[in-house]
Amino acid sequence: MSKKRQITFSLVRGALAILIALLVAMLLIFISAGGDTFGAKLAATGEALKQLLVGPLFRVNTNGVSFEGKRLADILAAMIPTTFTGLAVCIMFSANQFNLGAEGGIMLGAFVSGIVAIYVPMPPVIHAVAAVLIGGIAVGLVMLIPALLKVKLDVSEMVCSLMLNYIIMYFIKYLMNAYYADKSKGQIQTYPFLNSSRIAPLGSSPIFNSAKLTVGFVIALIAVVVCGLFMYRSRWGYQIRMIGINQDFAKYSGMKVGFIIVISQLIGGFLSGAGGGIEMLGRYPTFSWSALPGYGWTGITIAILAGNNPLFVPLAAFFMAYLQKGCDMMATYANVPMQLIDIVQGVIFLFFAAEQFLSKYRQKLVVKTAQEEIAAKAALAQEGGNANG
């Protein structure tokens, strides 16, 4: 199939998956909408949908719609942690390894970075960089557990990483209780991060005025480019992908399969940990997470939407953040619980991952391409050209 047809197919398929998810969402919104009569419910549904689809960027009121820069900034800010987990998952899944530890990874990274930010004074900038790096490295090392167990003992990396998520969460809660909590506060939280460690907001232009949108966003985009280069322009990334496609082939070709699998999870751990650090030091004054943040799971959806290609991660992350914002808007203005996002996300995820979804349409395109090729060959032969091969 030609590249152009392939792209057309992917677009149609993606659009349809999203459409189906929106239909499911609509149905659920309708059920949950207030109003006694069918008409009233319908009107409420329409209102809620408007918030979901338009609300993330525009203020919707009786005077019409008006663009809200702050909301765009919020969406971009929300992309920061999920871009990192999305990249992490891309790299781990590319090797056909279902390590689901990005969820615990981002929490641990945030925690470790936070501790460094409080207790290890350093000059500005260097402090932030060091805190984030240490957070990333710590998580990378933790990911050695599922990776090595998989490579050496054939223990399911999936079960192992899931268990680690819980262990990490409780361990952090324990450390908070026992050592790091600021007992003078009602809520369980650490002492404030030193100023030298904070990641600065991106700017203060009137359109992008959001304290949440930090330099971290730029770092995330840089990470996307670096990961893209790594996966498509470097030997390790290349080997990760080949292992994911055909492990026997990789081994036969002389690649160190076990080593590369470990590397992919080490990097995945590092990315999620660093992402946690950047999120924590950019957005919060103290560490106060008491549960897993959910960014790891969103990262999986993002990786699936991006087809494990790092370069598509920002797009997918934007889409997910937009959807999240839309759900928040609906919760605020239309009284639809914001957890709708999880269902919509699940539905999109399912259809994106379904290989046979629209396979008949794909088949048609393949046949069409083949017919055109045959026709072209025939034409060439008639001209007396050499058409064998």
Binding site: L153, Y166, G294, D342, I343, G346, F349, A354, F357
Partner: protein, 316 residues
């Protein structure tokens, strides 16, 4: 330490092991049957969440625990068949289907809970704990005679109906797998689907039955969680039991009896954790014990498996 021991050698402690093991055992049976049919269902966690929610809701609205219980089973089976549709018909990687179901099972159930009950969030997360009274829970059963035996009676008697049922079903599942023609077909499909197909067994049908069975078991587990283990559903209440079950399946060698022992091991680990916190240990150190045990046991299991494989190929 003596304090801990005194705390442990009590009927309540052993009682709690069985109680805690029951939902893990249900999920383990689910994992065992699908693995026998040759694939993995990692969506057990999500399936149990859905069953737990709908079980408690149906129980509340109907005023009957039995209807709630049935609803939990129906929802579990229906969701699992949907998983089957995506996995077998639309050729979605079964692992990704599982992840999707787990995602929906987490926030999605909270959404449904809010929508259906109209409960809004105050300080705490929305849940159905306020709706389920003890009368709407699955009843506990006091066994006559045995119940009056000292110590042992207090360990064995007085459990929820579903706790007993878990162990009965463990036995029945084993019978199903090894004594019925359905069981033969499931194992044949899992081990050599060409062999099964060549004698006219429908591989697709068997796979649907297996995943449906896993949904049924998740239904039992979910009903137990929200209508016995706790009174009512709350967010993420299954807390990884669906995942622990995957480990229990592997450690039990894929067999029902072994799976039951593994489930009891996890039950023991968790009960121990609870005891630790009772004698003053931070519960945050005690709670992860089952998860840590899972990783450690999988590693030990892996080492044993590796050593077995190292044995000489021929012994002639």
């Amino acid at each position: 330490m003596g304090n801990l021991l005194n705390n442990m050698i009590t009927p309540e402690f052993f009682f709690s092991i069985f109680r805690i093991s029951a939902p893990i055992l249900y999920a383990t049976l689910a994992a065992i049957v699908v693995e026998k049919a040759g694939f993995s269902n990692i969506g057990l966690e999500g399936l149990m969440m859905f069953s737990a929610l709908f079980g408690s809701l149906a129980s509340y609205y109907s005023g009957s625990w039995f209807i709630g219980f049935l609803a939990a089973l129906v929802v579990g089976v229906a969701m699992s068949l949907l998983m089957g549709f995506f996995a077998f018909q639309l050729k979605t990687d079964i692992i990704l289907v599982g992840i999707a179901i787990n995602m929906m099972g987490s926030g999605g159930t909270l959404f449904l809970c809010k929508v259906i009950t109209g409960i809004t969030e105050g300080k705490a997360m929305a849940s159905t704990t306020g709706l389920i009274t003890s009368g709407l829970c699955i009843p506990n059963i006091n066994i006559p005679i045995i119940g009056s035996i000292p110590f042992i009676g207090r360990v064995i008697s007085g459990h929820s109906l579903l706790t007993y049922l878990a162990f009965v079903l463990c036995f029945l599942t084993s019978l199903m797998l090894y004594r019925t023609s359905l069981g033969l077909n499931i194992r044949a499909v899992g081990e050599n689907h060409n062999a099964a197909a060549s004698v006219g067994v429908s591989v697709l049908k068997i796979k649907y039955i297996a995943i449906g069975f896993s949904g049924l078991m998740s239904g039992f587990g979910g009903a137990f969680m929200s209508m016995s283990y706790a009174q009512g559903w709350s967010l993420d209440m299954v807390a990884g039991r669906g995942f622990i079950a995957l480990a229990a399946q592997a450690m039990g060698g894929g067999e029902c009896f072994g799976g039951m022992l593994s489930s009891l091991l996890f039950g023991f680990a968790q009960a121990l954790g609870i005891k630790f916190s009772a004698v003053g240990l931070d519960s945050n150190l005690a709670s992860p014990i089952p998860y840590a045990i899972t990783i450690i046991s999988l590693a030990i299991f892996g080492i044993i498996r590796k050593q077995k494989a190292k044995k000489p190929r021929t012994e002639s």
